[in-house]
Symmetry: C2
Subunit: 339 residues, 2 copies
């Protein structure tokens, strides 16, 4: 049901029956290395191209999430997903293998929560008994598509971000055991005129703040309702800017509960990731690993995951356009943790 | 509500309160010229790039659809859309102007009905009071992105299709006067191994047949239930192949009620469009013009619009991959025409 102006309240909260994340070598060296289902040392996964490897990360995450859910994959009614590749081919090619009715979605790196929100909405409204949400990204495919040929090894400014290599997926059902999706807030485009694709965190921060603020208003909640409010991939520059914007707007978000997947997944002291992680796979692998694991360990009861997306293309950037940004938020509560 | 395995039944059918289509010069010379809201003679619409012009087609269609709906645009809860451009920038840039919560979706040319199905589902389930669905394409932007530099003027084989220049949009509400959306069927990927991007109709035909067959099974309907079953952009080759496949599968579709938007929008005898029209704008401008006009004129009571999409990218094609295809179907009934 519509809640406020731009949020959905799930009166029958869909249950996350299974989830999984599969990552690459750099993510496997990071602080969350024990939270992933599978870490691959080979960026190619034995495939002839990085694009095929990216598909493997997503496909393996979906397979594992389905296994862990205990559901027969054929009982799933819809797969909702998308990715950063032109024409979201990574996801569409995986949808071919998965063999389920397929809704392709795109919100750049916000796709992780857009797909989860849509899948949850379909379950909650009875349009699906079971649904899969899953997204992916790959450092080498994103690098060559959005920036320079990967082998060129161009230097980057410290404001740049490092695209996560990995896939994350979840299986949702109407009932069962697991964390529950209580609601979602669908973001509006926010564009503050930033044109630098090497500073996407700064471009996306106002969109994250806008969606979080709207979420709290729509549900009439204080930020302290959540144990954790976590953005997708603002990384160092964007997250710091978001903190400043909340302070400026006098939104009382306790700094200890405000975090970012792009900051958690890498150790910026030891890993060459500039401002931090990014990509559809960033928020997806952290959520469908670390965050849900923490809920299942009883460490978190209520979280708000706010995936951020920079909706540029290399062409729009080259044509001198600024970067429209968006953020979609999904509220997840541990079993028995809500209400 | 889930109907069968992969369809949605809308027990409270969303109403199409307003719709509009805005097209370019070639479409304005075609057989449907009297069915569009606006025909532009200038492919650039006075913009400095074709990409900006493409956005204008969509933006104008949305503006007119909203005007015709009589709804205040600020009362709309969500805009659902997508397009063929990399990272669906046309739609995302329009979403910035429109200023509404935004769900980006992508199914290549099937995006027109994917967006309508999702928007209808959100209305039907109470997640939105009002929603906009809208998509676009532009011959020159698609040509340069998917094939060759537009100015190069490369010759095409007769199996190729001509991307429609235009935008189409509709405004949906939970009640009011207008055609009603009774249900939708979400397609699965079908890939018969075709690798030729100049023969997308043939690649997409099996997906259209699969979705139509599944739709009829899920709703336990005979094809004769519909006055018109119309595919998005199979064009000459694909549509002929779909007819053959139905005959082979012994699905009794009367050939007089089976049509294709890509065949209707151009006069292949007089216009140089090879096998016929294609692009997100093809099914969108024909549906949000000709088809709904015919319903409102009382000429059609029940139609099934089956938008088809070829989910390739230039990169996937260059890497030797085949073309995964999909089709999404939306069932629309005239006011007082259903049940």
């Amino acid at each position: 049901m519509l809640q406020g102006k731009q949020s959905w309240r799930f009166d029958s909260p869909p249950v996350i029956l299974g989830y999984a994340s599969v990552v690459g070598p750099e993510e496997g060296k990071g602080p969350l290395k024990n939270e992933f289902d599978l870490i691959h040392e080979d960026m190619r996964l034995g495939q002839k191209s990085w694009e095929l490897a990216e598909q493997q990360f997503l496909e393996q995450a979906i397979t594992r999430a389905v296994e862990k859910s205990g559901i027969d994959q054929n009982a799933v009614n819809v797969y909702v997903g998308g990715d950063l590749m032109n024409q979201i081919t990574s996801t569409s090619f995986v949808a071919r293998t998965v063999g389920l009715p397929y809704l392709g979605v795109f919100g750049a790196c916000s796709t992780s929560m857009e797909s989860l929100a849509v899948a949850a909405q379909l379950i909650s409204s009875g349009a699906a008994h079971y649904a899969i949400a899953g997204t992916c990204s790959h450092n080498c495919t994103a690098e060559k598509q959005f920036r320079y040929p990967t082998e060129y090894g161009s230097q980057k400014p410290p404001t740049a971000q490092f695209t996560v290599t990995g896939g994350g997926a979840s299986v949702l059902g109407a009932s069962g055991s697991g964390p529950r999706i209580k609601g979602a807030t669908i973001g509006k485009i926010v564009d503050m005129g930033i044109k630098d694709p090497f500073n996407m965190g700064a471009a996306m921060a106002p969109a994250a703040v806008d969606t979080i603020t709207r979420h709290l208003q729509d549900f009439q909640l204080e930020p302290s309702y959540y144990d954790l409010i976590i953005t997708g991939d603002l990384a160092e520059i964007g997250h710091s800017l978001a903190r400043d914007l909340f302070a400026e707007n006098q939104v009382p978000i306790d700094q200890t509960v405000f975090s970012d997947c792009g900051l958690l997944i890498f150790d910026r002291e030891k890993q060459q990731v500039q401002a931090g992680g990014s990509g559809c796979g960033c928020c997806a692998t952290v959520t469908y690993g670390h965050l849900l694991n923490r809920m299942n360990r009883g460490e978190l009861k209520r979280i708000l995951v706010v995936a951020t997306g920079a909706l540029l293309s290399p062409l729009s950037y080259q044509q001198g356009e600024s970067i429209p940004c968006i953020a979609h938020a999904v509220a997840i509560e541990a079993e028995g943790g809500g209400n």
